[in-house]
Symmetry: C2
Subunit: 478 residues, 2 copies
């Protein structure tokens, strides 16, 4: 019986409707499925496998730096959440409240963690007594809940998966070092694992995490010119420790207050790679994170020797990459479209003519470049091609960011760019919250960060014309 | 400055108070810490590392059998939970209810998943249309919440970590095969990874999972003679599929109802290994799951060459096992006690005399056996010793179970054993729920399972004296 299978479904083009393109891709590439739980989603096997690859890499890097994994409860009693004033103000409006256990009302209601600073603080108070107990470098892989009004898969959902690092140190200096060490780790991960360039910098006070002294961020630029905050690392100073009464006895026998950090990246990174690398044929996955790095498609599979040669090739490749063979009786053309849509970085075609010549055809997903690979060399040639795809994606993203990054010297220029040219805007700032608010109101942009790499666009604030203190990146953001 | 460090803390002896011994071990070996969230706990790095080792092994085994990981929402709308009658009756009394998002009451309250059959059913209804979509072999690693009244770390807590497999198949036969395949996987994992013998069998109707046609179980015997249900695998028939309206078009073009299974093991397994292998000096970890398999303790570390030799040994061992060197200036005696308490399977001592002789001393945690290992042979000798510790633990547990398994032919004999001899009781049963209820009421035992390996203890039911249908294992249980 001939196998009937749906043809690869249409994806709305980016230019026509970017938001629709995005939801088409996440649905049709089978990354997620909606549920009857509003604002929550099922992460399907292909989407979850991407997350598992990210997790594995990050977890290894965290552990190499001496971090240990733990698991905190998912609930936070209301009184515990209330302990740090700025923190509760930031999070209380968007938490989910558990009020009943079974048929009985709870004595005190519990929120489902929106983040776990308060739980870690309570724990650190219990286990940190001496300088010998410091530092503690803890991390956990869990899901958190924030009751968002409008939601989009991966980018903003009521429940999302993440890792949250929480560390506690004897000195402010050590805690600051940790904050920046992790920021660097995140940036390196984005660039070298996800092929996604990021701008490193520090948030303004307005955009800071609730309870932090400083929030560092990595900001990426999406295909549509919007910014995506892709990871944050917070320096808390001793604010949380004081609010929770955490103290330790130092070598000099004095009671001292320790310093803390927290940092996290989320499943939002899946959204980030979709919107950085994707195109009108669907997903484009950076090779290091792709569940399937190479798909082998036999051509004229009914001809003698083809299936055997394709299987043999797959078997050999399985030792150097994540490879899959598609032996279904769908047409090669259907398969080409299907794996393009699913973003598989490299497709290998092998048919009777190739076998005769002792070669196979490799087609890159990122630029469709075709090359003929000598069958005797696949174990080295294919990994090299995967590296080339990674580099190609990274270079294209850097180039796009360059083209889409603008400079503005005054308010009208900034507004004109914001209205007509999607992308990052570099502009000077006096440091006043009022100017930040005005740029949001007048031009619809928010400050993304004060980048570590400063430039002198002009001498005065883009908004008020007073002397400028620093250059910021501005933009519309997810 | 001399380092001051607390001496290893005392652990209550098992014979004096088993429950206290257990909580002493979980606290003092730093597996958990209590929190202000009643019935929930922090799993600390040493405890979480045990779970990570279990996870890694199980996840690999699941994937080898073709299972894929997914992630469902943590919330279930009340109307969705209500769809399968038996299921909701079983779980509704013990779920936590979310009633507010931020400051607003929800239109429909949501429970925090106690298990996810309903969510998987909803999802399968959305994605299964044709026989080509079957089977789906899904699993997820998440935490679930059950609002228990009395709680104990790992054994029964309001939130616990687990994996839940949920599969859907075209035929009843396939689904039954899956149920038993996973039961075998669980049993093999317990025996060959955790060194913990289990009895495989099927639950009576009374002890069945809410909504299942059959619940298969593995039952282990703890040090105190109580049984611990260590993993379950459920065959659902087509009950859930009918309740949720899941149908597929078969090859013959007919609409048919698929068949389902679910199965899970939890962080309870950490409690199981503590109570199977532990002793009055603390934890005893089976080597395959131990975060630290070997600890190297330098003796007379101030003498020339000792630290260097210990480091060299550690470096070499790190290629064949998970090894840690303790270079702190605590005394060797303190270190011996500390790592015994933490259950490290093998301790290696190395001092000036050993170095002179070209050997080191290895001490097994399970039986304290000492052996002298030629330094040139550690890469083979130490892994072999770890295998021996695994085998020693398994053999001891089997022997203990043998000694603590009794047979009862009538009610009085059963009650006498139940009152005076902790352990499993093998006894015949007529199949009537009334007799099961009576044994619970009169002798305080529950049916653990109908084991696959049946024996003929007598011809009649241990309770009513009518003809017996099968032999069951009975016991007091966690």
């Amino acid at each position: 019986m001939a196998q009937q299978k749906k043809m690869v479904e249409e994806i709305t083009s980016m230019e026509e409707d970017f938001a629709k393109w995005y939801t088409d891709v996440v649905k049709k590439a089978e990354l997620i499925e909606y549920t009857s739980v509003k604002g929550c989603m099922v992460i399907r096997p292909y989407g979850y496998a991407i997350w598992e690859n990210m997790q594995k890499e990050l977890d290894t890097r965290f552990k190499e730096l001496g971090h240990e994994n733990v698991c905190m409860p998912m609930f936070i009693p209301e009184s515990l959440l209330n302990k740090e004033k700025d923190h509760v103000e930031g999070f209380a409006p968007e938490v989910a409240w558990v009020t009943h256990g079974g048929n009985e009302p709870l004595e005190e209601r519990l929120c489902v963690r929106p983040t776990s600073e308060t739980l870690f603080c309570e724990h650190y108070k219990a286990i940190v007594q001496s300088y010998r107990d410091l530092p503690k470098l803890y991390n956990q892989w869990v899901s958190v809940v924030r009751w968002e009004k409008t939601t989009r898969p991966f980018l903003r959902s009521r429940e999302f998966l993440w890792q949250e690092g929480h560390t506690i140190h004897a000195t402010a200096e050590e805690a600051r070092e940790e904050t920046l060490r992790i920021l660097d780790l995140y940036a390196d991960f984005c660039e070298n694992f996800l092929a996604m360039p990021v701008v490193k910098g520090v948030k303004t006070e307005k955009e800071r995490f609730a309870g932090a002294e400083d929030t560092y961020t990595i900001e990426a630029l999406m295909h549509d010119g919007k910014a995506l905050q892709s990871g944050t690392s917070h320096y808390f100073g001793d604010g949380f420790a004081k609010a929770f009464g955490i103290q330790y006895t130092d070598k000099d026998n004095q009671l001292k207050t320790p310093y803390q950090t927290s940092w996290g990246v989320t499943t939002r990174l899946i959204g980030a790679i979709i919107m950085t690398h994707g195109d009108n044929n669907g997903l484009v996955l950076p090779p290091k994170v792709a569940p399937i790095q190479v798909v082998v498609v036999p051509v004229a599979a009914h001809k003698p020797g083809v299936i055997e040669a394709a299987r043999d090739l797959t078997q050999r490749l399985s030792k150097v990459c994540r490879v899959k063979i598609d032996e279904t009786d769908n047409s090669p053309g259907w398969k080409f479209a299907e794996y393009e849509m699913k973003g598989v970085p490299l497709r290998i075609e092998i048919g009777p003519k190739d076998i005769e010549k002792g070669t196979c055809v490799a087609v890159r997903r990122d630029n469709r470049e075709k090359s003929f690979i000598d069958l005797s060399e696949v174990e080295t040639a294919i990994p090299a091609l995967l590296d080339a795809v990674h580099q190609g994606l990274y270079d294209a993203a850097i180039e796009r960011r360059k083209v889409m990054t603008y400079e503005a010297k005054d308010l009208e220029e900034l507004k004109d760019i914001a209205d007509n040219k999607p992308g990052f805007i570099k502009a000077m700032w006096c440091g006043d919250r009022a100017c930040e608010d005005k740029l949001k109101e007048y031009a619809g942009v928010t400050s993304r960060c004060e980048p570590f790499e400063q430039e002198q666009i002009s001498d005065v604030c883009v908004c008020c014309g007073k002397p400028a203190k620093k250059m910021l990146y501005w933009g519309k953001a997810y």
